[in-house]
Symmetry: C2
Subunit: 413 residues, 2 copies
């Protein structure tokens, strides 16, 4: 975060910035072509350390899911803060993380297809990355085993355990045992652990069902360990999205430390939001109660800044941001700040200003008649579901609390 901002020339990238006459970049000086995505450095740092402290206090390893941001600079921050590994969702994402210097990668997905296997084989050939991916079928095990053995390589695989009606993964213990046995027959593969994703379990009693599921996965892992399927290594035992990581830490963290490496994989925590993940975190805090000694809490670190481009009729403002610029699948963006260029600082946007409709390149915001709003004013909007805002941007502006741009972070979607 201490890197000097690169003062780039005018470009065709949306959100491009031009330094002002003093050579500084500030949102308040309109140095940036809006709409633009901005991340608050202080909030990012807060979230970075909050989750690492949580993992440390629970004696679980943190392998943050990188798919949310796909921002190499943020991967580096997570590693420096103490992350044990970086989780990714696909082979190209894994390559991007390795290019950013990440040395342990957990691809929380099956590795399928010749070109994707080639990407990972290329990673392994470099020799400086420890890579793991998931398997849940005999066909995939055979494909991977042949592919990597032919190349004189050994691929680490975790067996994924799923739930009926859920996503990927074995549905019962006997399948898992069969796959473990099949992996043992493949010299191109090594069983390195067991994985699950509890986020697909929902409905009433979700917490109870998730605890039961996690305990089952833990017991299976210990059973496979006792049968020697992990050889001389500890077994990685990993779960957790950003909504139930506390339960995963609770159930996996108290497992025999001489046999198991417990790993949680939240991703959205780094950016957080004012929507579904804020709600999920409130529930985490309620479940943790007084048992959590970590001060503070996660903070929404991302905003999209946009202009008021039209006030075409009383009560209606049209903003220069749309589905092209932010997530809209888990709630519409919410006006957080109002700034009129020339003023000293933004003020909180009134609660009565509400985005009620979003189109490809525009949003419609309801305002009270007579609201003090002008064409050319700036609205900073919070969002819900950071993943789907991040993948709309090739570059984000990292800002200080005074809205000065301190770095531009490139994404690699």
């Amino acid at each position: 975060m201490n890197q000097k901002p690169s003062l780039r020339p005018l470009s065709a990238t949306k959100g491009a910035a031009t330094p002002d006459t003093e050579g500084t970049l500030s949102l308040l000086h309109e140095s940036v072509s809006l709409p633009a995505a901005v991340v608050y450095r202080s909030r990012l740092a807060n979230n970075l350390h909050w989750m690492q402290d949580f993992a440390d206090s629970q004696r679980v390893k943190l392998a943050p899911h990188g798919k949310t941001t796909m921002t190499p600079h943020f991967f580096q921050l997570q590693r420096e803060a103490g992350a044990w590994a970086q989780t990714l969702a696909s082979a190209p994402q894994a390559v991007a993380a390795a290019n950013a210097g990440i040395e342990r990668i957990l691809m929380a997905n099956q590795l399928v297809g010749k070109a994707n296997m080639a990407l990972i084989s290329g990673l392994l050939a470099k020799g400086d990355v420890e890579f793991h991916c998931l398997v849940d079928s005999a066909d995939n095990i055979d494909e991977l085993g042949n592919y990597f053995h032919t190349r004189g390589q050994v691929l680490n695989v975790l067996i994924e355990i799923g739930v009926t009606g859920g996503r990927c993964g074995c549905r019962d213990e006997s399948q898992a045992h069969e796959l473990a046995e099949r992996i043992r027959q493949q010299p191109g593969l090594r069983l390195s652990g067991i994985e699950t994703y509890e986020g697909v379990i929902g409905g009433a009693d979700a917490a109870k069902k998730i605890r039961t599921h996690l305990a089952r996965v833990r017991d299976l892992t210990l059973d496979l360990y006792s049968k020697g399927y992990f050889g001389e290594h500890k077994a990685i035992l990993t779960g957790a999205g950003s909504a139930w990581y506390d339960l995963v830490a609770e159930v996996f963290g108290d497992t025999d430390a001489d046999k198991i490496i417990p790993v949680i994989r939240p991703g959205c925590y780094l950016i957080h939001d004012k929507g579904i993940y804020m709600q999920a975190q409130q529930q985490v805090r309620e479940r943790l109660g007084d048992s959590c000694s970590i001060g503070g809490d996660l903070q929404s670190a991302l905003e999209v800044w946009a202009y008021v481009q039209s006030l075409p009729e009383p009560g209606l403002a049209i903003l220069t941001l749309g589905k092209r610029d932010c997530a809209f699948d888990a709630g519409l963006p919410q006006p957080a700040l109002h700034f009129r260029p020339g003023q000293e600082a933004p003020t909180p946007a009134p609660d009565t200003w509400q985005v009620f409709h979003i189109m490809d390149q525009h949003s419609a915001m309801k305002i009270p008649e007579g609201a003090d709003l002008k064409v050319g004013d700036i609205i900073a909007l919070s969002t819900s579901h950071p993943c789907l805002t991040f993948d709309k941007w090739r570059e984000l502006h990292v800002i200080d609390d005074d809205y000065t741009i301190v770095a531009q972070a490139e994404t690699c979607f």
Copy 2:
């Protein structure tokens, strides 16, 4: 389209391709890291010429909306096929089009904010681009007038006419007259035309309401023309998204050709889809009836190809594509083709295979129990709403009908 494919090295860009031993790139040889977005060259060419022929036959100019693809190579194809201008939605998009060699740009939006004005001022300074944007408020007119006059430049502006409850634009003729008068007072501005976007009009009787609205906009334009607001120039009179371009051509196209340049701005036609734009086009064809002499019709040119990564329980397949890879706001992706690597060619996917759920990085596809599907099989999926699939990709593969990759087209979102 005749450019040699660039055979790129392995990269961290999703959809990256590696040539096979013969140096060719083929989807059927698994040269590409899936998921990947592909565009059929023959269908693209079909759509390119269909719409240009339509515009020519209706004696309207075509200014295709570039926001859909933001693919400079496609902008160039549209220009070569006879497009009069390229429409864009923002200042960075306009700069991207100019960088691609487009010489007449219609920014179908208000130009707001210092950094955005700077981008356009930079374009004008180069001297080889004719640029137009929209205005609908006195505040914006004054801002633009001051900004460009101070720099010794003249900005072409069109007054936007909207509808009550719609998006941007003046709501009545008297407002439009006031703005025209205000523009005349600004030496940094020139009134170059009148713009509307009929796509916000819907509900029962939409076609009738749209015809009435368009006639009103045409009459206003002729009125302003007769009053000398366009000086010695013809007035640009422009409307049309991808759903009602036939009505815009009908109403604007029969206007006095010595006073008016009628322009339609469809964008999605070039890519088309198997969803909302297919439905809209069916309605266009019904309205046109026998009056349309153009052979053939638009074809869905875009697919996202993905692997089956898991078959975790009977009736369920998990695919390696998600909200990160394709539009999901106007219908879920639809399985079009099924291909098992090693086979000669894909076969149509059965209608019984249906994507019923999409997550960030996965989709869930319902299949009949016992369906002939394996982990590692490829599914090609059609989508609905091409704009929101395009902006998920930095590169698209242009393919021949035999699935050979003939070009890689970069996007510039």
